[in-house]
Symmetry: D2
Subunit: 365 residues, 4 copies
């Protein structure tokens, strides 16, 4: 399946950057979960462009829940959330119609869709499609929260500047979820913003790394092969435009450790098994071990830049130069944060429903 993901709880995505409406269908979520407009709005605001460090195309994201919610609670039927495209300026892109933008999907889309693709504003490939994902993800986050599961993500690195690491996760997650540009150390945040603004002034862009912690997932969720918790999370995370790497626990750094360092020793306390360290990021053999689930996503710099680049005219097949005009983000890592939260929540809802049944997230089992 192409624009649908998940087995017991699934999400289907539709829409284009400059089309009439974008939306997502969240299906299979337990009945009785709170769907709070204010909370959905809050999550959308965390994804929305933010002043000097983002694109000038600011959408109000006036979402409408058109199905699956009744009297403020999920019914068990598919939840469709739609967001109209309001601030559309297709003219900026007219000149790009034939020139493939480097780092974008223009050329690959042509090879797949034979020129029938809607190229305006990136069409179906646009990062704008993550807005409805964030919206339905907000309901998934609410469902998890009611079962004591919390997700928090910070900009662990941006433009080469590193944030502090996670400390007290309960506190850090709570804090991050109130932040728009989510960083644990305020001084680092200021440095990051300055670096983004600097790149913007030079018509360039920067990337970064997002680090996520999930607490409260019970042990015993995930599969030994194929549908490992790492596998299903990464599968979904890589569909966030610009993500080029996903790692769990110590990630690539674990490759340089000794077994005696990498293994997380276990300890029993009050009849519960915990790990003394968490280099495995809360997952052993593909299955949650009850420790915080920790992962990081590498986010590449926005490919739309105002600097001249070599490219090809896909119609004439002649070499050309391109400067991408229009409104673009000098960085998206801070905006992608809300998408990572939502996608993680959707995947976890699916895994939990598969493990404990379709009633569990609604509190009926």
């Amino acid at each position: 399946m192409k624009n649908t993901f998940g087995e017991s709880v699934s999400v289907t995505l539709f829409g284009e950057s400059h089309g009439e409406t974008i939306g997502a269908v969240l299906d299979g979520l337990a009945p009785g979960v709170i769907a709070d407009d204010a909370f959905i709005g809050l999550k959308l605001s965390q994804r929305r462009p933010q002043g000097s460090v983002s694109t000038k195309r600011v959408e109000p994201d006036r979402f409408r829940i058109v199905s699956g919610v009744y009297n403020g609670k999920t019914t068990g039927a598919p939840i469709c959330i739609q967001i109209p495209n309001e601030n559309v300026k297709s003219d900026d892109y007219t000149r790009l119609r034939e020139l493939a933008r480097p780092g974008h999907a223009d050329y690959t889309a042509r090879m797949k869709y034979h020129g029938f693709e809607d190229r305006r504003g990136g069409g179906h490939f646009s990062g704008r499609l993550t807005a409805p994902l964030v919206a339905v993800g907000a309901i998934a986050i609410s469902a998890l929260r009611a079962r004591g599961i919390e997700i928090g993500t910070h900009v662990q690195k941006c433009a080469g500047i590193s944030d502090d690491g996670f400390g007290d996760l309960n506190k850090d997650i709570a804090y991050l979820n109130t932040q728009t540009f989510a960083v644990l150390n305020d001084a680092k945040k200021a440095e990051m913003i300055a670096a983004i603004e600097d790149a913007a002034q030079r018509n360039d862009s920067v990337g970064g790394v997002l680090e996520t912690a999930v607490i409260g997932v019970p042990a015993g969720v995930g599969e030994p092969w194929f549908d490992t918790l790492e596998g299903v999370l990464s599968h979904a995370l890589f569909s966030i435009p610009a993500v080029k790497g996903v790692e769990f626990g110590a990630g690539f750094a674990i490759a340089d450790m000794k077994g005696s360092e990498a293994n997380d020793a276990l300890r029993a306390e009050n009849g519960k098994v915990t790990a003394i360290t968490n280099h495995n990021g809360g997952i052993n053999g593909g299955i949650s071990n009850g420790m915080p689930i920790i992962f990081r996503c590498a986010v590449k710099p926005t490919p739309s830049i105002g600097i001249s680049q070599e490219t090809v005219d896909l119609n004439s097949m002649e070499n050309a130069e391109i400067e991408v005009a229009g409104r673009h983000d000098p960085a998206i890592v801070h905006r992608a944060r809300a998408v990572v939260d939502s996608i993680s929540a959707l995947v976890l809802c699916d895994q939990l429903a598969l493990r404990f049944g379709t009633d569990w997230l609604g509190g009926h089992a």
Copy 2:
């Protein structure tokens, strides 16, 4: 689904480390693909334990194709390859029956299977299960090869020692596929082996990074959302035991680049579009662009070590110490190489069959 992966071309895995037989079912592959016993044997030999740098449990891997192949070619029906477990010594593990081995899935298996799991030798979680994956993967590799697609993987890093990077991919891939301990620079290989032996002597283990290149995949394969080529590859790769990170192209390093560095400029040559650099690893917007597909997997050090570690007795729930006796690998990164090749081939066969139909890989379309 749990032990099955893929849509048009799928693989199903079964068996336990100390059970009677392990096996895999490869389904949906085009009819008419060569299934060459010698080539399957070669790939299995690349996964088999290798002298001083591996476990002393050496299995002959006497595989049998029990279905789906007739007169040396695939029939289009499911191909089941089985490998009996011959060199089984369950006694070594008797003492471990109650002690959860740190870094292993013993505790998570207990939480998922409530003690009914077959714990002998890691049971269904054992890396031994990758042998039938390699065997069916060899047929997938043959199918790709007949369409001009080649896969090569090298130990890019082991015990902190780095191999040379890829150069001429045609030559490098051809070379790597003849090697058992696949490294591009022989001097580096010697250093790595010495480091593994050193770790073995101290009853410890080391990890590493595998880097893979795939050439010949046509542009236009993969999906913009969810079933991005990165997403489906990573999903499958994370089910290789010990993989804790997957990155494409420049991967995590891309997070520190500027857009002007990360974007791969395009050029038309002889009516074909190519990228001047390949920081995106052959994939834009989730879809292949015709450039080599490049990715890396972080492989953690083998968790079975002879050094004393803290753990828990899962029956009494008391704290304890464990030294994992038995025959284990001081490193598995070099053996995991064949698994990465096979899993990549299986995923690509699936994606190509979805894109071009079920006849394409057999050359009938």
Copy 3:
């Protein structure tokens, strides 16, 4: 997955009878397929209530294609078609809120959704949800038509009155697709309508059988096990509310035949193999044989009737009597016809895309 069906070409359904909007997402269809508003409107009109033989709730079905179509052709991205609910009168159902309507899903919905379900007008269970299915199905029908595949369905039986059987399929299919109440023999149609009106006057309802023929499907589509063409078609057809039986070829009548009668003898003509009879309905071993695919669906009488029936108040769990007030259909078999056409088209598009690749239906392969 719950409200999504199909692998390469899939459909996702959302909405409730009295909600804001109902819709469907058609995903995976080849780029370049014509999406003709007039044709979609025609198919919707064939499903719409028809005078005396239908409900008084007549919806204009003002559909909007909000994504996936650009310049009148499919782009390859998901196609979302929405239809607002305009003629909603929830008051009629107020009294039913606690009384389970016999033959309906009120009680089973309560057991599944714990009372959170939107019960207004049947909510997500309403036959109204078939309108967007018909709309996206119309595009699937267009795609098939461009490849020479045509689908036609007639009311083979209604209220016990049988239509004539299929004769010249090319002519019959062409004729049926121009009809609203699709019957081959006009005299029989008049009898059926009289029987429906008679039932309506007695506040009762009648059922019927739909018979479908599909011509032009190439031989070699379908799977021997599980995803047999019969299996995937029936899977989808049974989701049409009121369908309680599906049979292929001679169907249940084949049970009484001898092998020598049931087998379809083969004959070669002009290098093509055809069957002399078609008791197997165009499918052998789960795979199309190039003959017309023939199947029938049993459609039960509408469960909403104005006659008093015993039932239970789901809140008090006390026995009660119910007469279903409101606007209902004395028969739906004639309206279900358009749904059968659309669902069959969606399933066949999926099977053909799986078999021949994602470009085939768009004519690019």
Copy 4:
């Protein structure tokens, strides 16, 4: 996916009629379910050829559970059951190699597999493949039984002779499960057997109808759209070779009823809702209502007959005559009974695991 069916609990099939081994992998079943060799053997014996009314190819069905069962109980890992082909006589089929057998899949297999298919004894299409399905299904039946769910099937019709209808389901199901040729009325069974023997003597074959009852399925299982309980059951049932129709409850007869007859009035007794009649076969809106689930499968006469039929030589494409020599069944409806039981059990295990989680069938939730 092709030879795999199910989402949470799935089955994968492999093997050919004259290959080395046939088998099935049952995956996702809860840990702790009893896997009783004697019970598996009993179910296999119900599928095995039976004296004068069956083929002379009698296989001992020496099954081996090679994975997923430890100490007599399921472990939660995939269960692979294998059955070697022992009584293989490929010579009988030599002359058929080019002649497509009418009613069989020879021609469709050729169109799908381009001549690479293993045609010996029908290859992967052979009804012999149902033996491993029955074997793994026996474990699924055991799992259901432990939760109070029982399945029974009788030959409701054979060669035009009808058995009595179901009466007391508890008693009838218990009785049927002890029978090899499962009929409720002994006199009818004798008539059926005589009719089969009569057909056999004339080198012809007969068909029949199987009727199945499932008791104990809790209300609230199944989905409103697509994955209706009817849809998923029929999907699987149609993969039983020779099944050409599936109907639920009153089935095709419901088409002739009035709404006032077809609706099942409800009644509350002891805080439980039951239906007074069961014309809907235990399913409303695709979801179980707690009543017995009732369905019927039409089974066509065995296509292998010794009477001369017209056909085509697939190599020369010339018209020809064929009399199918070899050992074949004059009827298979009585043998298909065990397959229907097993497939129904597999589908229900899947649906129950999806609904109530992966522990429910093992009694851990």
